[in-house]
């Protein structure tokens, strides 16, 4: 059991200027971890919201600080923006009596596979995986973003387990397009899990529209958006379709954050 009363944990996320849904899971995981009393203090920071990356270290009292990116993949944010804004020298930064330990993003964790499988099973209870096509949906096309590669990696891991008849990656803006889900699947049941860190416009509106289970904008994401997850299963295009919320809203992500800290310690033995 991890116990770090003399350390601070800072969870960094993207955030949004448009709605509170983007930062919500990061705040939720922080509250969960604070309540467990593992760290002396727990804070969040965001690129698009407050506290910002430039403000957060002023909030911290402890001199031993773990920074965990709540991002699905390594890429522009974890490699460029976060290190630049927090003025990090690399994995380990010593500055003004402080030690800042920059961990791997949560999406790199080996447990992602388990969490995706768990979410897929939860959303389609009693549905036989042997008669189901599972889609892991990523964004795609983002400059210098490895989210598509991360989705492919998870698909390979899940497929290797041989549970589902079919496991595929699909994207919003590049082939294979999630809008063509019925062309890319052969099974009577289809389960779709967004491989995103948070719910928001993509999971509430964009993907449902591409799937054909929603039309036009239902309005503010945080208002009616969540409803799209409450009408499973959807019957269309001759299939039974189950649509899950973003994987990052899974409460077990709090444990994945802890594992990034443990993994850091294992590599950079104190």
């Amino acid at each position: 059991m991890l116990s770090k009363p003399d350390s601070a944990l800072v969870i960094v996320g993207h955030g949004s200027t448009v709605n509170p849904d983007s930062s919500a899971p990061t705040f939720d995981h922080a509250e969960t971890l604070l309540a467990r009393g593992i760290f002396g203090e727990v804070h969040c920071a965001f690129w698009k919201e407050e506290p910002s990356f430039r403000q957060v270290l002023h909030m911290v009292g402890r001199d031993d600080i773990y920074v965990v990116p709540n991002f699905i993949s390594e890429g522009y944010f974890t490699k460029t923006v976060i290190p630049r804004e927090l003025e990090l020298d690399g994995a380990l930064t010593r500055r003004g009596g402080r030690v800042i330990k920059y961990c791997e993003p949560v999406g790199n964790d080996a447990r992602m596979t388990e969490l995706l499988l768990r979410r897929a099973a939860e959303i389609a209870p009693g549905v036989d995986p042997a008669q189901t096509s599972l889609f892991i949906v990523g964004h795609g096309t983002n400059l210098n973003d490895n989210s598509a590669a991360a989705a492919k990696r998870e698909v390979e891991r899940i497929a290797a387990l041989g549970l589902y008849a079919e496991v595929r990656s699909a994207y919003m803006e590049e082939e294979p397009l999630i809008s063509k889900w019925d062309e890319y699947s052969t099974q009577p049941n289809v389960v779709v899990v967004p491989f995103f860190i948070s719910d928001g416009l993509h999971s509430y509106e964009d993907i449902p529209v591409l799937l054909g289970i929603a039309s036009a904008s239902p309005g503010a994401a945080s208002a009616g958006g969540r409803e799209v997850f409450q009408h499973n299963p959807y019957h269309l295009r001759g299939r039974t379709l189950f649509y899950a919320s973003a994987i990052g809203t899974e409460p077990l992500f709090a444990d994945v954050i802890l594992e990034q800290v443990a993994a850091f310690d294992a590599v950079h033995a104190a």
Partner: protein
């Protein structure tokens, strides 16, 4: 450089501090009470007892719009937050006015280094690199427009530190801005893009 933000908050309250941004802080029935300063004297407020309630109270303005800038003067009214101890007060304030108690502590310790706008824009990459083309007159207009909707005192200028001192009334915890926020940087991008389209 061990820092104790909670102790700094305790000392500030003991010295007569009772106001941060739009929020009034007072001794409550069993600890501390926070409420919108304009709700002073009201008896019809909805009571909350967990600091996490502050996160949700701070999310939306009275019209239901998201508040990405928590120091915008648009905090909803009609609530009171009853908190048992200073740890809870500190957590609530970190939701209402993220980082502001810590930034203020850094300021009082002489550890807060203002970053001028040119330096902030100069290190941008990706879609925000274009903000380096922002002219001084554009920057002036942008700051006057965007920062007018924020309660923080700006410690920076376009190319120099802001020479004026924070002017917060006695009892008010100063809300300090030591560097342009991403909201302003994003707006700078819009200004540059708009000017390029018009050219």
């Amino acid at each position: 450089m061990s820092r104790d933000v909670q102790k700094a908050l305790a000392d500030w309250l003991a010295g007569g501090g009772d106001r941060i941004g739009e929020i009034a802080i007072a001794r409550g029935p069993a600890g501390w009470e926070l409420r919108h300063a304009e709700d002073a004297g009201r008896a019809d407020l909805t009571a909350h007892a967990q600091p996490e309630a502050a996160r949700h109270l701070a999310n939306l303005d009275p019209a239901g719009n998201f508040r990405p800038l928590k120091t915008a003067p648009t905090l909803v009214r009609g609530w009171r937050l009853l908190l048992a101890d200073l740890a809870a007060v500190r957590r609530a304030l970190d939701y209402f006015y993220p980082a502001m108690t810590g930034v203020w502590l850094s300021h009082t310790r002489g550890e807060l280094v203002p970053v001028v706008l040119r330096e902030t824009l100069g290190r941008q990459t990706g879609m925000y690199r274009v903000t380096q083309k922002l002219t001084d007159p554009q920057a002036r207009e942008l700051i006057d427009r965007v920062c007018a909707g924020c309660l923080k005192h700006r410690l920076w200028e376009i190319a120099t530190a802001n020479p004026s001192s924070p002017a917060f009334p006695a009892g008010n915890l100063p809300l300090l801005c030591h560097e342009a926020c991403n909201l302003l940087v994003a707006q700078a991008r819009e200004v540059v893009k708009k000017a390029e389209r018009a050219a």
